[in-house]
Amino acid sequence: MGEILREMFSAPILVRALIVGILVSLCAALLGVSLVLKRYSMIGDGLSHVGFGALAVAAVMNLAPMAVAIPVVILAAFLLLRLSSNSKIKGDSAIALISTGALAVGVMAVSMSHGMNIDLNSYLFGSIISVSRGDVVISVILALAVLLMFVFFYTKIFAITFDESFAKATGINVNLYNMLIALLTAVTIVIGMRLMGSMLISSLIIFPALSSMRVFKSFKSVTICSAVISVATFIIGMFISYAADTPCGASIVCVNIAAFAVFFIAGTVASRNKR
């Protein structure tokens, strides 16, 4: 095992993937707690599909992928947020509409680019080779921004997650913070998508939060535990992916499934013992 680890750390591609992945896992887990509790988990899923569409179109038009995807996904995030608070179109169908629509546009773009070297598979399911040096720089900056904002606005994020009406009444600008969360989520998804694949990236948002909620009972402990689970499952998943030569995104999600099972059992046992 030590041998494999040493090998992993001596390959620059893997080191880059590890840095980006750990930062993305951390951000996704922190934002995920709030998104899951606000019943917004599907927004993450919708955004990743929009991200796929944007990346595919950017590749076909020969534009810088991140420069296209980040603004498009941020725009989609604001749109989805508006739609879910609008009673005329129900949030869940609006998300399905946008995500399948964006997916279709992306697939069309890829299929029309004959002779171009676009690997649909790596877009959908991720690949560590796609993480460039530029991605590392962008993700470090953005991840730091997410972390700083999360810590700085922690009390407000708790308040608007727990009870929007009360937060509004105390004069907190709820819409502004909702938009901030949507913005950070959009950015996290775009960065993580290259590595995890657009089909799998939302698992990083949902799994750790749900797992830690089985066992932990305060907002703070759930948040900290999700962050730990997220980073740990990412590292274990990467290791399995390298050792067994499996795709890294899927390996990480499988480790998350296992973690969820463990936490689910632990939570059930703990609550039964109490009774």
């Binding site: 009390t155 708790f158 009360f166 305060s218």
Partner: protein, 238 residues
């Protein structure tokens, strides 16, 4: 000066006028119940008092140094909240947010205020428990403690007893009455006429095209109270 004074207040909801030319005053120490049928504009009035809804015309004035964001609000519970992983202390202290501005962490003084209100509502033994493990009545007490962290002067309760059993309901009313006696003004929106009339010093009754404001004793003598008890009676029998 009155704590809250509205003058010729007109409010609308989705382009429909629900309240027209409403004038009433709330003095420090009052216990005002807002009663009325569904759709009579109670929730819209609550939103207006909290500053979340702009009046079409008329004005709401705050006196005695009360700021709009210093109203201790107890909203109706949402489903998402019932299984929320948060400790009782986390929920209660979030009531202190209105006085913080942009500072990121709670100060020692705010922790004290939260601890005081936890004690005041008899929640000390529950303070490290998770909100989702509590009974409906306990959850309401936690939210009441949070509301008290946000204010010293006025609490605004929106249907606080919905879904509670009669015993717990009675306890909660006693608790609210005690808070009122300690000097906190109470405004309560409720469907529960009987209890409302038992505790409230003043009553604001809204119906589709009429309204009444006065002391509860005056209300009981007015025609409006007959009308409402009739409506309630027939609803129960039917």
């Amino acid at each position: 000066m009155a704590l809250i004074k509205t003058e010729n207040l007109t409010l609308s909801y989705e382009n429909m006028t629900v309240i027209e030319n409403l004038s009433f005053e709330v003095e420090s120490g009052d216990y005002l119940c807002i009663v009325g049928e569904n759709g009579s504009g109670k929730s819209t009035l609550v939103k207006a008092l909290l500053g979340l809804k702009k009046p079409e015309s008329g004005a709401i004035e705050f006196g005695d140094g009360l700021k709009q964001t210093e109203i201790g609000y107890l909203p109706q519970q949402t489903n998402a909240q019932r299984d929320f992983p948060a400790s009782v202390s986390e929920v209660v202290i979030s009531g202190c947010l209105n006085s913080r501005g942009l500072r990121p962490f709670y100060s020692a003084r705010e922790r004290d205020i939260a601890a005081e209100n936890i004690e005041r509502l008899g929640l000390s033994e529950l303070k490290n428990r998770s909100y989702r493990e509590l009974s409906g009545g306990q959850q309401q007490r936690v939210l009441l403690a949070r509301a008290l962290c946000a204010t010293k002067k006025l609490i605004l309760l929106d249907e606080p007893v919905t879904g509670l059993d009669p015993m717990v309901t009675a306890e909660l009313y006693e608790l609210i009455a005690r808070i009122n006696k300690s000097g906190v003004t109470v405004i309560m929106v409720t469907h529960d006429m009987q209890s409302a009339l038992k505790y409230a010093s003043h009553t604001l009754c809204l119906t589709e095209n009429d309204c009444f404001f006065g002391t509860t004793a005056e209300f009981l003598e007015s025609d409006m109270s007959n009308f409402l008890t009739n409506v309630e009676g027939s609803a129960e029998n039917g």
